[in-house]
């Protein structure tokens, strides 16, 4: 009887197994054709968190110049978010987590999209699993692609294990500040080398009454701001090592707490929203330069027209400029339309697309394409760059006249581009761990040793899993 049961089970299992594999073989013939570009209709899938006008424009322009190709923009987050509602950040985090897990599962099952917007995706982990195409290789294999036409130093910041698995298509500076020259007086700042300690020492006596040294920065973001750029000093992604138990990191933690306790940096996220994004009472202000003309307008618009651009302090000297890209793209290595995906990427990097600035089709950042960048700089020089009267509206109905843009200014703007050395990218997991673990230290409930050790343990666990 036992034997019969066994054979029955075996038969059942075999039947089920064969049914499964039968289903599997049916899909295989599809992989045959569709390998090269322009062989029959091609559908490119682009994974985005949330579709915007920009993607639609890009899709239409690409489809117009590449007949027979359809771009399918796949939107993963469809919930509507009310930015002013409380809990918006939590909602955003949940959406992102869901986005990452959905794309990750699709990629692992081999049915991922052809192109991915990698801004919120763990592309290094994907690269480890050989799921992303090495764009560097695609560039060098393609004779029609001239890499000298691009700010390759920007691309280089995203290199991982010798390859380029995600490519930034635009630049927004993240570690440039505007300083109030009136308040700073004659203070000497060597912004190429200054550290956070230098910043604290300099700012402490100068913080305006009731103000903060760094406007627009909620205190709970301070540590992450100090680590970005600079976290690579404590995390070695390639060798899977962390050093958060080092004296340097403990010093950084202590310094952050001192700055908060002494009121050098103050203000919660709620305060910031209430104050209208921290307008007014700061000694410095994070610039967030997105467009070339902001380098011209920013200094005359802020701090009563008496502002200077500084590079933010850093954890290590000579860190260079850091940026974030509004759009970082990756190509699925398992994609059947890899060549066409590369065409699409090239198209996104082309002068035609890159030169667009704002509006529906804008890159929302500065171009990584040199021709497009110079074209924008040339426009700045033109007498009608800021309208016929060269005046701009600022709040409270005030108007400012923009003086002619000098060649020195233009050279400076370009030097920011060529001086980019790091990308402001967040492995959300690590940043979340640092954020939650450091909280009890800032509230004075845990010692710096405990917190550093805890961060170190968790990050090492995460890296080595």
């Amino acid at each position: 009887m036992k034997k019969n049961m066994l054979s029955l089970t075996v038969v059942l299992i075999v039947m089920l197994l064969s049914a499964c594999s039968g289903g599997g073989t049916n899909t295989e013939p599809n992989t045959g054709p569709n390998t090269g570009p322009n062989t029959g209709p091609i559908t490119l899938t682009l994974a985005v968190t949330r579709t915007e006008g920009f993607f639609e424009e890009l899709k239409q322009k690409f489809e117009a110049s590449h007949p027979g190709v359809t771009v399918n923009i796949k939107e993963y987050v469809t919930s509507t978010v009310d930015k002013s509602a409380s809990g918006f950040l939590q909602q955003y985090q949940r959406d992102m987590e869901k986005f990452v897990s959905t794309v990750t599962t699709e990629m692992a099952s081999g049915h991922g999209p052809d192109l991915l917007v990698t801004n919120n995706l763990p592309y290094k982990k994907y690269a480890d699993k050989h799921m992303l195409a090495d764009i560097n290789k695609l560039m060098s294999d393609d004779t029609s692609f001239d890499s000298s036409k691009y700010f390759t130093n920007v691309f280089d910041t995203m290199k991982y294990k010798g390859g380029l698995y995600a490519i930034p298509t635009s630049v927004q500076f993240t570690n440039l500040w505007l300083g109030d020259s009136t308040l700073l007086g004659g203070a000497k700042i060597d912004d190429n080398t200054w550290s956070w300690q230098d910043f604290a020492d300099l700012a402490k006596p100068l913080v305006p009454q009731g103000g903060t040294a760094l406007g627009g920065l909620p205190t709970d973001q301070l540590l992450l701001t100090m680590l970005n750029p600079g976290i690579e000093q404590f995390v070695d992604m390639e060798n899977k090592k962390a050093s958060f138990d080092s004296p340097e990191f403990k010093n950084l933690l202590t310094l952050a707490k001192t700055m908060i306790d002494e009121g050098i940096v103050s203000g919660s996220f709620e305060d910031m929203i209430a104050a209208g994004k921290g307008r007014g009472t700061g000694l410095f202000e994070a610039g967030g330069f997105r467009y070339v003309d902001e380098f011209v307008i920013g200094p005359i618009e802020r701090f009563n027209g008496n502002a200077t651009v500084y590079r933010a302090p850093s954890t290590t000297p000579n860190q260079g400029y850091s940026f974030r890209s509004n759009l970082t793209l990756s190509i699925n290595d398992k994609s059947k339309n890899k060549e066409m995906a590369w065409e699409f990427l090239k198209f996104a990097l082309s002068e035609e697309i890159q030169v667009e600035r704002e509006g529906k089709s804008g890159m929302r950042g500065m171009p990584v394409n040199k021709d497009a960048f110079h074209q924008l700089l040339d426009k700045l020089k033109a007498p009608d760059a800021f309208g016929e009267s060269r005046t701009i509206q600022i709040d409270e109905g005030k108007e400012l006249t923009v003086p002619p843009v000098t060649q020195v200014q233009l050279d400076n703007i370009e030097s920011y581009m060529t001086g980019i050395r790091s990308v402001d990218e967040t492995d959300d997991k690590i940043f979340n761990l640092i954020q939650t673990e450091s909280e009890p230290f800032f509230s004075g409930q845990k010692s710096v040793e405990d917190v550093a050790k805890s961060i170190q343990n968790k990050v090492e666990t995460y890296l080595n899993e």
Binding site: M1, N4, M5, L8, T9, L12, I13, L16, L17, C20, S101, T104, T105, M107, A108, S109, G110, P122, K125, K129, H130, K334, L433, P440, Q445, K446, D450, S454, N457, K458, T461, Y462, N464, E465
Partner: protein, 290 residues
């Protein structure tokens, strides 16, 4: 004739068993085999056969080893503790105690309360700013972060015990009530003291129950992950980072190779353990009845 009837009975039994066999195969056994297949490949898509390399990598992975050690340590501490306490409770409630049935029911409550709501309470108790720390502070002691220190293991063990003692107690109670009272009477006539009775009658006749409880406790001890995960998240203190944390995180970071080989190794370990236990049990039961 007899043989034929037996055969027919076999078919009938097989047919009756078929629905559950199909379900088991479809949802457990076949995925398990597929998982085993993946554990021998280097990538779930277009992978090639790599033999035992994934297992080798896994066994050299520091985090995996820590997870395995933590799981083992947790089981080794909590299961005997659980059995001792639940046996004690069962023996107490087997006698005529005031409000006996109320006690019996109340120890079963943890089983029927949904985990999520319980975890909320535990969080409130053991949080850094939680009620336990508040109480300690009012007594003049310094608060500590229970879930982020070496105390975390103790906390998880307490949660596990609280959740599982009631179930084991009921099993032991049933076992105790199955022992005929005559044995005790005979033993006391022969002049055996209370302890001697407990050792030679209660313990011996509880052996089958004890084994069952033991196995169930071990299996339940693997399930404690749910509670730890909900209290302390995916990266808890290193002392309570269990196998299931590892597997869950591997799943999230799409490392199916490590995931499947870890799952397979764990299944192998549990199967071996249970197999050995059954062997031991058969030995002991034989020696009692023989």
């Amino acid at each position: 004739m007899l043989k034929r009837r037996k055969f027919n009975e076999g078919i009938t039994a097989g047919l009756f068993l078929a629905p559950s066999a199909v379900g088991f195969a479809l949802f457990f056994f076949i995925p398990f085999l597929i998982g085993c297949y993946y554990s021998l490949m280097d990538s779930p898509v277009d992978g090639s056969f790599v033999g035992l390399r994934n297992y080798n990598d896994l066994l050299h992975n520091e985090v995996f080893r820590r997870a395995a050690w933590n799981t083992f340590r947790f089981t080794a501490i909590s299961v005997p503790l659980n059995m001792l306490l639940s046996l004690g409770l069962a023996m107490m409630l087997n006698r005529s105690v005031y409000l006996r049935s109320l006690f019996r029911i109340s120890f079963l409550f943890p089983l029927v309360i949904p985990v999520a709501s319980v975890v909320l309470i535990w969080q409130i108790v053991f949080e850094l700013n939680g009620s336990l720390n508040g109480l300690m502070q009012s007594w003049g002691m310094s608060p500590r972060d229970w879930m982020e220190s070496h105390n975390s293991l103790a906390v998880v063990i307490i949660v596990y015990l609280w959740k599982n003692i009631g179930y084991n107690m009921v099993l032991f109670l049933a076992g105790l009530q199955n022992i005929p009272v005559d044995y005790y009477e005979a033993a006391s006539i022969d002049g055996a003291g209370k302890f001697r009775q407990w050792r030679s009658i209660t313990l011996v006749y509880l052996t089958p129950t004890t084994f069952f409880v033991f196995i169930i406790s071990i299996i339940n001890s693997f399930k404690v992950f749910r509670e730890t995960y909900m209290i302390a998240g995916e990266y808890p203190h290193e002392d309570i980072y269990m196998m299931q944390h590892y597997m869950n995180n591997m799943f999230k970071s799409l490392d199916y190779q490590k995931l499947t080989s870890a799952a397979f190794l764990m299944a192998l370990a549990i199967t071996l353990l249970v197999f050995v236990l059954f062997l031991v049990e058969r030995r002991i039961t034989n020696s009692i009845s023989g």
